[in-house]
Symmetry: C2
Subunit: 255 residues, 2 copies
């Protein structure tokens, strides 16, 4: 059995997220159909590193599948990009070790979230950043961000993925949360060992509420302590979020 | 009668060009409807600096309208951006001199055209640049571009706007045609005193054919001499083209 690792870029605007659903187009479904065509009808389940929500984008999403066949890596890449819609592109196909799993082998992830601060929004950024009409206090934003760095119980910042489903372990570590300004935007860069469902968007919503004086820094501390999702702010919209990188152990590739 | 000048940004992806048509959404139609709403039903014809094609984008398109009323500039801008779809934004409203006409007063324009040279196209650039799978000879591209700079009869590079309609004067001057590389793209920057219908896209199509050895530099010279649109290359696709700036005489604003 050979395990193949795919690296993908996806403009999530037109997709109802990653996961195959009965009623709406998904990224996984397009990839699975292209793969099944390439394998001449063989069904090799294609599994992604995580379920991105509707509208979320990815610069380097990771997926894998296993098959008995030996596959020419370059031919498979060309076939994917020939068969897939133009808003999903496969940038790399590699051979991973047989135990590799895009989701369970992941040891870290990086997400970026874009906040647009222009008075009139640039129409070319409308699908890729959250246009905020509120004024933000930037030093306060930095102070609030520092409260999220480190190892915490993030229960208050995690949604249930299905009704009643709660992550077994809500403790995660955020290694970095940098705020990088560009001309008219702020990019919030999250690096951590893993993120709970909607955790980045819930944190961004809360950070923006602090920076616009709707919440205080003390409120953030008490939201953490409450371990109750209802206490944190509304999630920031999906279209500002990019999955930028998924990290695996250095020896995860076979060659 | 007061004349108002509008500066607009438009993501052209979802529009069938600038001009009002009976069967498809246009930028002009959305603006006209918003203006008529703002003016409480008064119809003040809104006129643009030129008719961009379906799929062409604009960073600073110019339009104007005239009315007897005195209009609060900031309120009008806010009303436009409240009423318009999010892919059309009004960035400026100014008072122009009474003789100002967005089309006939224009003395120059700048267009940018993006060529994407990546092996696998970045999905986030798919609507904003032309993905070329051909290899380009960059020094040859520069040489070919130099043939277009200056004052020429551009008949061979102009389409008829309507069946049988030919511009009265096909002579135009291109002041600059710069080729600016970025990471995986080339930006072709055109500045001139005016451009005939589809002229930029026809020139880009021809430049790409020279740089990919389908045409020679001598062919370009003979295409100019033939004064026949059928001789030049196929137009480059609309979605790589941006109207960047329209120039007017320095005294065209009233204040």
């Amino acid at each position: 059995m050979q395990c193949y690792k795919l690296t993908l870029a996806t403009d999530g605007t037109h997709y109802n997220g990653w996961q195959i659903q009965s009623n709406a187009p998904s990224v996984q479904q397009h990839l699975q159909e292209a793969l099944t065509t390439f394998l001449g009808g063989e069904y090799a389940p294609l599994i992604g590193s995580g379920r991105t929500d509707a509208g979320v984008h990815a610069l380097n999403q990771i997926a894998h599948f296993k098959t008995e066949r030996s596959v020419d890596l370059n031919r498979l890449k060309l076939a994917f990009n020939g068969l897939l819609p133009r808003d999903i592109r496969v940038n790399k196909v590699e051979i991973a070790s047989p135990q590799f799993h895009s989701r369970y082998s992941a040891i870290g992830k990086e997400y970026h979230y874009y906040l647009n601060l222009e008075r009139v929004m640039d129409p070319f950024r409308r699908l890729y950043s959250w246009h905020l009409l509120r004024k933000l206090d930037i030093p306060l934003l930095h102070e609030a961000a520092s409260l999220f760095i480190g190892t915490h119980d993030f229960t208050s910042f995690a949604n249930e993925q299905h009704r009643g489903s709660v992550a077994r372990n809500p403790v995660r570590t955020i290694y970095r949360l940098d705020i990088v300004p560009s001309e008219n935007e702020l990019c919030l860069k999250f690096e951590g060992n893993g993120f709970l469902y909607k955790m980045v968007r819930n944190i961004v919503g809360t950070l923006v509420d602090v920076a616009s004086m709707k919440l205080s820094l003390a409120d953030v501390v008490s939201i953490f302590e409450a371990k109750d999702r209802k206490r944190a702010s509304k999630a920031a919209p999906a279209h500002g979020l990019f999955l930028v990188r998924v990290d695996y152990p250095v020896d995860h590739l076979l060659i």
